[in-house]
């Protein structure tokens, strides 16, 4: 789960990280009031779950409250990479002496959280990694021991010559690590970590991505979810316990299992079609899920044909068949439907479908080819 910059900063602040004062505004007037309260120059920053806000004009420096109001008016409602800006963070602008990057991700190779730190901060770390990898220090953390003081200090010295700044940075590494672990992060970063001309370290931007699997045990973090900043179809899918990702094609796919769902999308493409989505109904054969899946897919006007691809293992294919019948009775489909079912209770499923006027195949390639043809306006083979 993505959380907003202001939320990540709240978490980091609660772990002791030095963060410039800031508040969220949803209207230009609120933004003006916050800027007035601080009485100094501020930054107005779009709160959206997407990178490149700055380049898109979503981050502005404002000398006066009036300017903050004006810039907030421009940013609120702005569309950044398909997402509408609903909130801005109004935060005290810091004088910047130097900018560093500090981040932690869970690394698959070492199976550990790994720090990445670089004195080349303020820009995209993947760019630094690609162009000047020697400017990044990677420090894996063995969670059994936590982040040892010596490793934190080593990172401090990698960023700063001055021992006081190195120590301050080491403290921030510990705070960031504590926040990362306590918040169930898969990524946490401070970019830039700024040293002001007076030599003080400040975290000017913060980002966190939370492991969805942590949300059940971290209700305070789970409550940070901002559904207004997500695609409505994905919100609905999540609430129905489906995994759904919208794509640009016209063949709607309903599949059980993530691997098979990806393979189905690939096969659509292989046979010359374009998948409209990734949709995994998971292992359960609850007919409700099938109903929700069809509702979400049919809401997309670009979908020209729908393909079910179900391999029944735990999933009972007769349950899926019943779900299809129920869903299409209450909301008759306006696009053709191709069904492939095989595995557990296949015979019953076929009987149910036939009794309700559906045809079905048990061959994946055949079904995919049919769906692709139908989406192109052709007829089912």
């Amino acid at each position: 789960m993505n959380i907003h910059e202001y939320q990540a900063k709240e978490i980091l602040r609660s772990h002791g990280v030095n963060i410039p004062p800031g508040k969220v505004a949803t209207t230009p007037t609120e933004a003006e009031a916050i800027a007035k309260e601080y009485g100094v120059a501020v930054m107005v920053k779009a709160q959206v779950h997407v990178g490149g806000r700055g380049k898109a004009g979503g981050v502005k420096f404002c000398k006066t409250p009036a300017e903050a109001k004006e810039k907030a008016a421009a940013i609120l409602g702005m569309d950044i990479k398909g997402l509408t800006v609903e909130k801005v963070l109004v935060t005290v602008a810091e004088d910047i002496g130097s900018e560093a990057y500090v981040g932690i991700i869970v690394d698959r190779a070492t199976k550990k959280p790994v720090f990445m730190v670089s004195a080349a901060g303020g820009i995209d770390i993947e760019q630094v990694a690609a162009e000047t990898p020697e400017k990044i220090l990677y420090v894996p953390v063995d969670v059994r021991y936590g982040l040892p003081a010596y490793d934190a200090m080593r990172m401090g010295f990698f960023l700063y010559q001055d021992v006081k700044q190195a120590r301050a940075a080491a403290t921030i590494m510990q705070q960031l690590y504590a926040a990362f672990m306590a918040s169930g992060c898969s990524l946490a970063e401070i970019n830039p970590l700024v040293v002001t001309p007076k030599g003080v370290l400040v975290a000017v931007d913060g980002k966190m991505v939370i492991d969805d699997n942590e949300l059940d045990r971290l209700p305070a973090i789970a409550a940070m979810r901002d559904e207004s900043s997500e695609a409505p179809s994905e919100v609905e899918a999540r609430n129905a316990n489906l995994t759904f990702i919208k794509l640009d094609g016209n063949v709607g796919c309903v599949v059980n299992g993530a691997g098979l769902a990806m393979a189905t999308m690939d096969l659509v493409k292989y046979y010359g079609g374009e998948p409209a989505n990734f949709l995994d109904i998971g292992g359960s054969s609850n007919p409700e899920k099938v109903v929700a899946a069809l509702r979400i897919i049919t809401a997309d006007p670009s979908v020209k044909a729908i393909l079910f691809n179900i391999f029944g293992g735990i999933t009972r294919t007769d349950d899926v068949a019943n779900g299809i019948v129920t869903a299409t009775k209450s909301n008759p489909l306006k696009v053709p439907l191709v069904i492939r079912l095989t595995g557990t209770n296949e015979a019953e499923a076929m009987k149910i479908l036939k009794a309700n006027g559906f045809s079905a195949s048990n061959d994946m390639d055949e079904a995919v080819q049919q769906a692709v043809a139908l989406a192109k306006g052709g007829k089912a083979a």
Partner: protein
């Protein structure tokens, strides 16, 4: 022969009285797996289906039955602890079916099982089956048949799809292993490839990877360097956009790494067969078994 499990595997089911645990316990028993015990805290002394003794703790279960493997069906919040309990109890092989285990839990579990020399399969995996010998997990027994092909895959239903096609084409399997779709898991492709290479009955390997990470690339390098047996590979997610998680927590293309294209390239560079569609496995494997 087979890898990891066979006729002699004596299995404990952790969470045997739960919804999923009890359902699959019966399936495994029907398949012929030696289910020697179950564990559910507070139900020690009872019997599952009137025959499998239930214990409060893994230590009790292992001591009483001499089990050498366990399979875990407990909710995600308790899965990491269940894995560690199993690893500390004396069994040599632990399979965790549970989906949704926090990845930070796994950063702790991983060294725990490793320093005890225990093999973990999963979490978030369908388990494994050595057709005709033993089944541990949830792979439908009916689609498998004994034979010369080792199967290893990140995913569940995609495995079924391929295994089903192989079986229908008359090509049986030594063992089918689902390693799971999480970014940190206990057993990876290389572990399985190494075991298949050593298994005298396995004559060829079918391997189904996914986008995300570099495990498939490392597996390809392993095939090139260490394997004499033919391997055919497939990558799911060729059409997936970067930065979006395709269901599996591990299936995400980040930056310039983890794309299907680079993985397929690695397969080709290793001299592996590459299946473009799941059905291609049938002909590619057949050709390599001759």
């Amino acid at each position: 022969m087979s890898i990891f499990i066979d006729k002699n595997t004596k299995l404990i089911i952790q969470g045997i009285t739960g919804r999923d645990g009890s359902f699959h316990a019966k399936q495994m028993m029907e398949y012929g797996t030696q289910v020697v015990a179950g564990v559910t805290p507070g139900k020690g002394g009872q019997k599952f289906e009137g025959k499998v003794p239930i214990f409060n703790t893994m230590v009790d279960a292992v001591q009483a039955t001499g089990a050498n493997a366990s399979v875990i069906y407990v909710p995600p919040a308790y899965a990491a602890d269940a894995i560690m309990e199993a690893a500390a109890s004396g069994v040599a092989f632990v399979v965790c079916i549970t989906e949704g285990v926090p990845v930070l839990d796994m950063t702790k579990v991983h060294p725990f099982v490793k320093e005890r020399g225990v093999r973990l399969l999963g979490p978030n995996c369908p388990g494994l089956i050595s057709p005709g010998e033993s089944k541990v997990g949830i792979i439908p027994g009916g689609i498998c048949t004994p034979g010369p092909v080792g199967v290893v895959s990140r995913s569940g239903t995609l495995t079924y799809e391929v295994v089903d096609k192989l079986t229908r084409a008359g090509i049986g399997q030594t063992t089918c292993v689902g390693i799971g779709g999480d970014p940190i898991n206990g057993t990876n492709f290389i572990d399985c490839l190494e075991a298949f290479e050593k298994d005298p009955k396995t004559k060829a390997v079918a391997m189904m990877g996914e986008i995300g990470g570099t495990d498939e690339q490392e597996a390809a390098a392993f095939v090139k360097k260490h394997m004499k047996k033919p391997v055919v590979g497939f990558i799911a997610g060729q059409t997936a956009p970067p930065g979006r998680r395709m269901g599996h927590a591990g299936a995400i293309i980040s930056g310039s790494s983890g794309t299907a294209a680079e993985k397929i390239e690695a397969f080709e560079a290793a001299g592996m067969g590459v299946a473009k569609r799941p059905k291609d496995f049938v002909e590619l494997i057949k050709a390599r078994l001759k």
